[in-house]
Amino acid sequence: MSSDRHPLFKPLIFVGGLVFGFGLGFSHMARPEVVINFLTFTDLGLPFVMFGAAIVSGVAFALLPRIRNAAPLTGDSYRRRLKPFDRNVLVGGAVFGVGWGLSGICPGAAYASLGVGNVTILWALAGMFLGAYAQGYWRSRTRARDTAATGAD
């Protein structure tokens, strides 16, 4: 399916990523210290980043489906990002919270952090791949054993 995609599909994804990464640099979310400063209440700026971005995306997610029937580069309809709630959201969110609180870095910010020159962040990226591999290995095994799998998210 990826071979017959619109020629502008990947260029657009790339440009979107560029702006996204520039924003993470500008907002200092690519700096673990600044995230930790928020979490310890010494600089409360972080919510302006997350909610600022959520407001922009929220407006687009609400308006685009009313303006167009389908996205020009894929022909897919505009859907909101809705995922089913289950215990995993709480368990995974809590594990992520411990990791984020300890390190001050989340995935997107870690990629941008590498870009701003923070070579030390490779420790975090190595950890993230290791963690993602460990849960994927374990869950693939569990799903193979358990036919009543709940489906992919």
Partner: protein, 185 residues
Amino acid sequence: MVTDPVLLQAVAELFPNGISRYAVGGLLVGVGTVLIYAGTGIPAGASTFLESTLSYVSDQSRFQQYVGSRDWRLVFTAGIVLGGLAFAATVQSGVITSSLYQPGTTGRLYDVGGVTLWMTEVQPWRLFLGGILVGVGTRIGKGCTSGHGVCGVGSASKTSVIGVVTFLAVAIGTAQVVAALGVSP
């Protein structure tokens, strides 16, 4: 309007770097997300890249489900890295200056070929151990700060709001405990 000088000072202490760099940066993160969504209909999150990229090297079914999206997710992540570099080469290097940008004092700056780069002083063990938990947690919890926090909250998804409240609350508790134990930076 806030006019009480004591209150104003209290607010200033809570925002030692102001709010404009955060708000402007957040808007840009939103614009990047919207560019992709408008063109493709995809509400892109950053953490799926971890599993989709593992599908290149592992046959586990959990990773193979992302084979169809792994190529563009690699492109998205490359864009984020280079976007960070573009920020470093312009604003961080002082080539572009703006009253909306406060440089702050965290970490340490160093220079490579005229570009001002930045390095964290947070200890590697914190980054590595925290990274492992971020890798496990974001994938089990169905999203990270961009998937749940930006796209999910922007979609008014109850699941994502619960996810964000959960990881924010736990992260605050964790960071406070770590700081109280005297771990710094």
